[in-house]
Every structure is written in structure tokens, then in C-alpha cells.
């Protein structure tokens, strides 16, 4: 299997034998989950239809990969689904990254959705092609279909042992009808799915040959660096570019703009013949920015506002049960606690960048974007072009975590290319990345629980107070109601705890600091409060925290299984020596359940995290090694957010600018991580994010067991 990025023209060449070919595309109609398969005539290839699978008469199998890869393993999971049903081995497939044209269906990599939404459609597409090839062979041999089967890119006639390679069946197969309901393989016959298969992009990434956005070169391109207002919401009063223009290589200094979804701000761009010159020029600029009220975006002010709102009436999520207020009022014991999580930066290792080429009546762009289709539609709107006039080339993404779904940077590059009349590569510095956002929104979780005389939880309320991403980024007007994402991790479906009177609610706290999805989105903040509080209730009721959870989840067998496996694998029930403690937390998000057990220890150098045992139930597994890798990854990302940061805005600017004052987890702090995957045949859940939400609460719960101190604010101090 050879990953490659190419244009539509390249795609035609890739599938471009002179002879017959079989091309099958599919589209996802309004409802995700089902699939409409359609045959594509050779003459239509590359014009308007968008095949996902293409076999030509040389036997070459090409697959259009509709999902950008940012490290989460899309490169492999998508082709594996097709290859399994098509009965071809992995290295017989060529993958081409799609370029965002409308017909490919939704292409955003986000919400851990790649495998979840493509599981059945991708397999059906592969199975349909397999059945057509088998039928074609049966027709040629004039034998019953039932006597034929497919294996290793061949159709074999069982009684005689005769076989046809796929290449020789393409012409006949292309004349057949597409089967309406192709039969999917029985999971017990899987050869690829569920196996540890090396990721095909790894050899490129260990030899420096993978092409990221930052590596793109277009003939004649210029390089840009953009000076931005420290206050984020900047207006340029004036600028002096005399010194900047003297830097050898600097071509032009111009007022530019950054179009964020909720507002557009002014910037000053330096365009040069190389990136270093652009940065040098930028350093020599003198810009006078309009003064802003320094408290306007201040995070202290925001945090005080969250607390003010804590006592205010909130709006209910769906699925509340019983009468919380009455049950709480009548409870034998009432427990109340609030938990705070700060703004956080994504800090992906590759700063955002884009190379744009505006050609008058069209735009071509190369970018590490999480959503090629959104990139097209937003750029078309921004430049007043038709979507067909915008072409996007998706590169490898050097990390994204939600940041590269926020498309301000592609618009900035397009703006500059249009203004200077040449292709322009825009690269943000790390400082731009940290001081300008967007960020994960800060949140306050207010929790109340009622316990009866027998130690049973009778009332439970989780109120979250935060800004709505759907409103700020997607311009929804929800009139104070929760957006669909806010309940991730704690809603009725994700947290089916058995409490007779349960309420979950939301209160909007507006901020104009730019925000966006951040790995696991609201679950990353919701679950810290939720799972810490369950632990507090257990201690208050004199119950073991894991036993209490077993009781609360008693009607949810998958949760029970995860908890029991966690207890067994982590040695939870064994006695620990003095100076060591364990804490656990569990959460479901993006259709996957994940639980962690943290072991912490007092050492001569202070408290250390010794070990993390993780149990994950993500349904049927495409590649177990990738599930382990993503879970390890979530431990690191989640620990950074739990222990480091925060992002703060004071005196009219973000206070953190690079890794020296916004530290992230480094190798010496990496605990041993052991990941256990529950083996089942449930529909697949996400794996890129669900490991993250239970990290902070599991660690906080472990610290409580070690020190007796309850953590209610992130980031936490291990030795606080």
C-alpha cells in the first residue's frame, strides 16, 4: 500500500490504464450510516463523480481516502475496511487523499468519527465489488456463483481450482448491476480487521519524507509572517514598515486580516522571498494597535463571572429524570462541590500554515486542514468564488487536536496571495499559535448530590457553565440552550448512572476569546467534575468508589465489564503499601467507554505518577495496536492539561507564548501505561479522544487517596 497525495488529475493517472476498469463510488445520503453505491463510467471519472474504489485491468486497486490523517491512523483504518471485504492484501492498495470536492461526502476528521461513521459503508462498498467480481468469474466459467469465492485478489472456482486474477474480471464485472445488499463477512473470518498491521505512513515519517503542510513548495512562492495584536482583537491605527522593508528579501508589508468565525481582526503581514526574512522584517515593524479595555477578555474576570453564574437558573439537557430539587431538599446528606477547568491551547507540534495560490478566477491551496470540504466552502464564501473554483490539497497534519478544523489560517493565506499576486506560504510562529488562539473554553462544573440514610445516591445534579462552541464558531443561535456537544461524556447516553432523581443542565457564559474543539471537546472538561464528584459521593457515603460505580452502572453491562476488567488488571482490590494509592475514573465519549486506574506514590522527590492502567471498550477493533497508541497518546495529552498550563489573559494579552512558559509533558514525566482492550463485536466507537476525559479525575481521585486533599481546579499540583 502506497500512501500518496495527489490532485484529481493525478488520481486519473493513478487509475489510468488504457483499458477497462471497475469504479464504484458511494455517497452518504442525509442519514449517516447507510450508503448509496453507484457505478462510475470511465468517461465520467474525474469529472464529477468520486469513486472510492477503482480496479483497473492491470489489477491496480486504488482507494480514495476521504479522511485527513493527523496521527490518528486514518491512513490505515479506512483502507482496511475495504480491503477486508474485497479480499485483497493490504499492500495491494494505493491510497489517494481526496481534495475536498463536494461529492466525497463529509470529510472532517473530528469527533473520533472516522471509523464510527464509515464502518458499514466502507465495508459494503468492498463487499459489493467482491460480489461483482465473483459474479463475473462465474459468468465467464459458466458455473454457479456458489462454487466461487474470492481470496488474495483472485476469484477461485472451488471444484476445479481454476482462478482469475481480479484484473481479468474487471471488464465483465463493470457490466454487472451493483448488488443491492452485499453480504458482509462474518467477523470470525476477518484477516485484517482486528489485527496489528503496521501503519503504511510510518516508514515515511521515520525518514523525514512525509510531506506536511509546512513542507509544501510551489514554484515562485513567497513566504509570509504576520504581526498580530497582542490583545487578539486588534485594529491597526498605523504602522511603520521602513526598517522592515530594508531587510534583504522582504518584498512587501501590508495590512491584512484574520477572519475568525465570530469576528475579523486586522493584522500586518510581511511577505518575503524566504521565511527567515519575513520574520526578520516582522521583528522590525512598528505597529500601533488600538487600545482595548484590558479586562475585556481577561481570564480572571471570566472565571469570576463563571462563579457568579453558579447560583443562577440553568437550562436542562434532555433525559433528566425524577425531581432533583425535591429529592435533594429531602436528602439525609447533601454534598456540593464546584470544579474549574481553564482555557487550554492545542499546541500541535506543527504550527498552522497554508500555501495559497490565487489565480484570478480560482484558488489552489495546500494545507494541513482537518476538513477539506469545509476549507473549500469557507474559502469560496470568503473570496466570492464558486466551490468548483477552489481546489484543496491536503497534506499530512503535524498534529491538530481540533485546531486545524478552525479555518482562519487558510483564509489568511488566500488573502495574502490575492493581495500580492503570487503563491504565498503563510506559517504561524509558536508564539502566534499560543497567543492568538483558538483555545479550549474554560468551564465551571457545579455538582450537587443527595445521599439517603442507607448511603444510596438519591439525587444528582451536574450544571456546566461555559461558552458554546456551536454559537461562537458555528453561529448557531441557541437562545441559552445547550448545544449538542456540551453533554458529551456526562449526558444520559454517555453516563447512564442509575440515580432516581437526576438533572444535567447548562448555563452559557459568553466570552470573545476565540474558542474551538480541543481533543474530546466538552468531555475533556465535563468529566473532570463529574467523575471527581462521584468519588466524593463515594467517600461521603462510606463506599468504595469502584463499588459505588458498579452499582450506579448496574444496568449498563459494558460499563460493568470495563470496571471489573480495570479492577482485575490494575490490582485495585489488593492492599497497597503505605505511601502508595490508586484512583480511578470512567467515562463514555464518542461511543467508546474508557477507564483509567492511576497509581501514585510518595517518593523522596515528591509525589510521582507510577503507572496508568487503562481499559477501553471501543467495540469492534480495526487495529488493536492503534487503539493502544491512541490511548497512550490521550494519557500524555490529558496529563499535560491536568498538570500544566493554564492559558491566561491579563493586561491585554495572553500570558503564555512558547513551551518555556506553557510547558507540556516530557519524556521523564511519562508514566508506564498499560492498555487493555475489551474484546467484543459491538459497533466501533472512536479511539482518538475517549481516552482523555477520565485522565484528570482518575489522577485527582488517586491524589485524594494518597494525601486526603481534593483537587477541584485544574491544572493541579502533584505536590500542592
Amino acid at each position: 500500500m502506497k500512501p500518496q497525495h495527489t490532485s484529481r488529475r493525478g488520481f486519473l493517472k493513478a487509475g489510468g490504464s488504457a483499458g477497462a476498469l471497475l469504479a464504484l463510488g458511494f455517497s452518504l445520503p442525509a442519514q449517516a450510516g447507510d450508503v448509496v453505491l453507484h457505478k462510475i463510467e470511465k468517461t465520467a471519472l474525474g469529472l464529477e463523480l468520486s469513486p472510492y474504489i477503482l480496479i483497473d485491468d492491470t489489477g491496480k486497486i486504488t482507494l480514495l481516502n476521504p479522511r485527513p490523517d493527523m496521527g490518528q491512523g486514518t491512513y490505515q483504518s479506512m483502507p482496511a475496511l475495504i480491503a477486508e471485504e474485497l479480499e485483497v492484501s493490504f499492500d495491494q492498495i494505493h491510497i489517494i487523499q481526496t481534495n475536498g470536492q463536494g461529492k466525497y461526502g463529509a470529510q472532517l476528521s473530528g469527533g473520533s468519527s472516522s471509523v464510527r461513521t464509515r464502518w458499514i459503508p466502507m465495508r459494503k462498498a468492498g463487499a459489493a465489488v467482491r460480489e461483482m467480481l465473483i459474479q463475473a468469474a462465474a459468468n465467464k466459467w459458466k458455473v454457479p456463483v456458489a462454487e466461487c469465492f474470492a481470496e488474495n485478489a483472485k476469484v477461485i472456482h472451488r471444484p476445479s481450482g481454476k482462478s482469475f486474477p481480479y484484473a481479468e474480471l474487471v471488464e465483465e464485472a463493470s457490466r454487472l448491476e451493483i448488488p443491492k445488499e452485499p453480504k458482509l463477512k462474518d467477523p470470525k473470518d476477518f484477516k485484517l480487521l482486528g489485527k496489528n498491521i503496521p501503519k503504511p505512513d510510518v516508514p515515511l515519517k521515520v525518514t523525514g519524507r512525509a510531506q506536511f503542510g509546512i513542507d509544501v513548495e510551489v514554484p515562485g512562492m513567497l513566504y509570509a509572517s504576520i504581526e498580530r495584536s497582542p490583545s487578539i482583537h486588534g485594529k491597526v491605527i498605523s504602522f511603520d514598515d521602513a526598517a522592515a522593508l530594508k531587510v534583504p528579501g522582504v518584498k512587501k508589508v501590508l495590512k491584512a486580516e484574520r477572519a475568525m468565525p465570530h469576528l475579523t481582526v486586522e493584522t500586518v503581514a510581511v511577505v518575503a522571498t524566504n521565511y527567515w526574512a519575513a520574520m526578520e522584517g516582522r521583528r522590525k515593524l512598528k505597529v500601533q494597535w488600538e487600545k482595548k479595555d484590558p479586562t475585556y477578555l481577561a481570564t480572571d474576570t471570566y472565571s469570576a463571572r463563571l462563579k457568579e453564574l453558579a447560583g443562577k437558573e440553568s437550562s436542562d439537557f434532555a433525559g433528566n429524570k425524577g425531581d432533583f430539587a425535591a429529592a435533594y431538599a429531602g436528602a439525609a446528606r447533601k454534598i456540593q462541590a464546584s470544579y474549574e477547568t481553564p482555557f487550554a491551547a492545542h499546541a500541535a507540534m506543527e504550527p498552522v500554515n497554508a500555501t495559497a495560490w490565487f489565480k484570478g478566477d480560482s484558488l489552489e491551496i495546500w494545507a494541513p486542514t482537518q476538513g477539506p470540504d469545509g476549507t473549500i466552502s469557507e474559502l469560496a464564501r470568503y473570496l466570492n468564488l464558486k466551490p468548483e473554483q477552489v481546489k484543496v490539497n491536503v497534506t499530512f497534519l503535524g498534529g491538530a487536536f481540533g485546531r486545524k478544523a478552525y479555518l482562519d489560517f487558510v483564509k489568511e493565506a488566500a488573502f495574502l496571495s490575492k493581495a500580492v499576486g503570487a503563491p504565498v506560504k503563510l506559517l504561524w510562529t509558536r508564539e502566534d499559535d499560543m497567543t492568538q488562539g483558538p483555545y479550549r473554553p474554560a468551564m465551571l462544573s457545579v455538582l450537587e448530590g443527595g445521599i439517603d440514610a442507607q448511603g444510596k445516591i438519591t439525587a444528582f445534579h451536574h450544571k456546566i457553565i461555559t461558552e458554546s462552541i456551536q454559537e461562537q464558531v458555528f453561529k448557531a443561535d441557541l437562545k441559552g440552550k445547550a448545544d449538542g456537544w456540551t453533554e458529551e461524556g456526562i449526558g444520559e447516553k454517555d453516563s447512564p448512572i442509575e440515580v432516581p432523581n437526576i438533572r444535567r443542565s447548562y448555563l452559557k457564559a459568553r466570552t470573545d476569546l476565540p474558542i474551538v474543539w480541543w481533543r474530546s471537546v466538552y468531555a475533556s472538561t465535563n468529566v473532570f467534575g463529574h467523575e471527581s464528584f462521584i468519588d466524593e459521593l463515594a467517600h461521603a457515603a462510606g463506599r468504595d468508589p469502584l463499588d459505588l460505580r458498579l452499582e450506579l452502572f448496574k444496568d449498563s453491562p459494558r460499563f460493568v465489564k470495563v470496571l471489573e476488567t480495570l479492577a482485575e488488571k490494575s490490582g485495585y482490590r489488593q492492599k497497597r503499601p503505605a505511601g502508595k494509592a490508586m484512583g480511578i475514573a470512567i467515562a463514555r465519549s464518542f461511543s467508546t467507554i474508557c477507564a483509567h486506574a492511576f497509581t501514585v506514590a510518595k517518593t523522596k522527590d515528591g509525589v510521582k505518577i507510577e503507572k496508568v492502567v487503562s481499559v477501553i471498550d471501543c467495540g469492534m477493533v480495526v487495529n488493536p495496536d492503534n487503539v493502544r497508541a491512541q490511548t497512550e497518546s490521550n494519557v500524555v495529552y490529558g496529563l499535560t492539561a491536568a498538570l500544566k498550563g493554564p492559558i491566561t489573559y491579563a493586561d491585554g494579552a495572553i500570558q503564555q507564548s512558547n513551551f518555556h512558559n506553557y510547558p507540556v509533558l516530557r519524556l521523564p514525566e511519562m508514566p508506564k501505561v498499560e492498555v487493555h482492550i475489551i474484546d467484543n463485536q459491538e459497533a466501533p466507537g472512536g479511539v482518538g479522544e475517549p481516552g482523555l476525559p477520565p485522565i484528570a479525575p482518575a489522577l485527582a481521585n488517586a491524589l485524594f487517596n494518597l494525601t486526603g486533599k481534593r483537587v477541584r481546579k485544574l491544572p493541579m499540583e502533584l505536590n500542592g
Binding site: 493527523m70 496521527g71 490518528q72 493490504f90 499492500d91 495491494q92 485484517l192 498491521i197 503496521p198 501503519k199 503504511p200 505512513d201 510510518v202 516508514p203 515515511l204 515519517k205 521515520v206 525518514t207 523525514g208 519524507r209 506536511f212 509546512i214 513542507d215 513548495e217 513566504y223 524566504n274 521565511y275 527567515w276 526574512a277 500541535a348 507540534m349 506543527e350 504550527p351 499530512f396 497534519l397 503535524g398 498534529g399 487536536f401 506559517l427 509558536r430 495496536d625 497508541a629 491512541q630 497512550e632 497518546s633 490521550n634 494519557v635 500524555v636 495529552y637 512558547n658 513551551f659 518555556h660 507540556v664 509533558l665 516530557r666 519524556l667 521523564p668 511519562m670 508506564k672 501505561v673
Partner: protein, 168 residues
């Protein structure tokens, strides 16, 4: 601007650049080798690590003027997909990379570590590699891949020169 000679991966390049330009940008934008990455620009992350006469340096914070005749090695000079270095081989066997962006720098540091300490302990690895950030969190695999590479290098037999099998 000034004409300077740089020896990169055994090849001599004449580049006409500002002597203050960090080596990183000369390698990437002038010479055109893109495997060396930019992550922070202030010697904090290790993404830009290259070797000068075998010693790892942060090329984002090393002006071209200090390089002089020292031999520069980048990730492209360590091994190719057909002739992998033992460290790269181990990285493939342990499936270390996720997004992959930090991995050129990680590998450059690991190669230098193993030259200095052919048989490093976990503590040696932690200390030596702490300047290399990985936001995808591949740290645990980096540890085990370094141990594996150490074994491969000490087996003395020539390192396998074929890429790891894919799909077998």
C-alpha cells in the same frame, strides 16, 4: 547576505544567506531538505535537531555563521526507506510515530544518544531525550524503540536494509 559553504549529508552546498539566518531555514528553504522541522524557534522542542560533527544541536537557534566547516547531518542523511538506520528500523517495529512531525528530531537525538551510550537505561533515555517534545505522546514507544535499536546495533550483524513489511 553572504556566500557560505555548508556540508550537509556529505554534499557541499553554496548558499547565499544572511549569516544570522538559523541553520534550520537554510536547510529547509534554501537547500530544500524538509525533513528537519520547525516547532518553537527557541530551542524548546527539539523538532529541528540536526548533528554538527555528530553532536545534536537545535538548528532553529544555530546561526549559519557558526557552522563553518562542521559536517551537518539531517534526518535524510541517517537512512532512507531502503537503507534504514537501526534506530529507524526500531521506530518502525515499535510503530512509534503518530502524526510524525516530531519524529525526525526524536530520531536525531536517539542516534546521538546511542553513540554516546550504546546501552542506555530508562533514566539515561529520559534525561537525554527530555529536550524533544512529542504532543502526540509517543514517549513510551520512544523508550522501547531506543532499547530495541540498542539491541539491533549491538547484534553487530548488518542492519536489515528492507523496510518493515506492511500488511503481512
Amino acid at each position: 547576505m553572504a556566500l557560505t559553504k555548508l556540508t550537509v549529508n556529505g554534499k557541499v552546498y553554496s548558499v547565499d544567506v544572511d549569516p544570522n539566518m538559523p541553520l534550520l531555514w537554510a536547510i529547509r528553504d534554501v537547500i530544500g531538505l524538509k525533513g528537519t522541522k520547525f516547532g518553537c524557534g527557541m530551542a524548546q522542542c527539539g523538532a529541528c535537531t540536526v548533528h554538527l560533527n555528530g553532536t545534536p544541536v537545535r538548528s532553529c537557534s544555530t546561526p549559519v555563521s557558526v557552522v563553518k566547516t562542521q559536517k551537518i547531518t539531517t534526518i535524510e542523511g541517517i537512512g532512507t526507506p531502503d537503507h534504514l538506520h537501526a534506530v529507524q528500523q526500531a521506530w518502525i517495529e515499535e510503530q512509534v510515530p503518530q502524526c510524525g512531525y516530531c519524529q525526525s528530531g526524536q530520531i536525531m537525538s536517539a542516534v546521538a544518544l546511542l553513540k554516546q551510550k550504546p546501552n542506555p537505561s530508562d533514566e539515561d533515555i529520559d534525561t537525554y531525550m527530555q529536550g524533544n517534545i512529542c504532543r502526540c505522546g509517543t514517549y513510551q514507544r520512544i523508550r522501547s524503540a531506543i532499547h530495541k535499536a540498542s539491541g539491533l546495533l549491538q547484534e553487530k550483524k548488518p542492519v536489515k536494509t528492507t523496510p518493515a513489511p506492511v500488511g503481512k
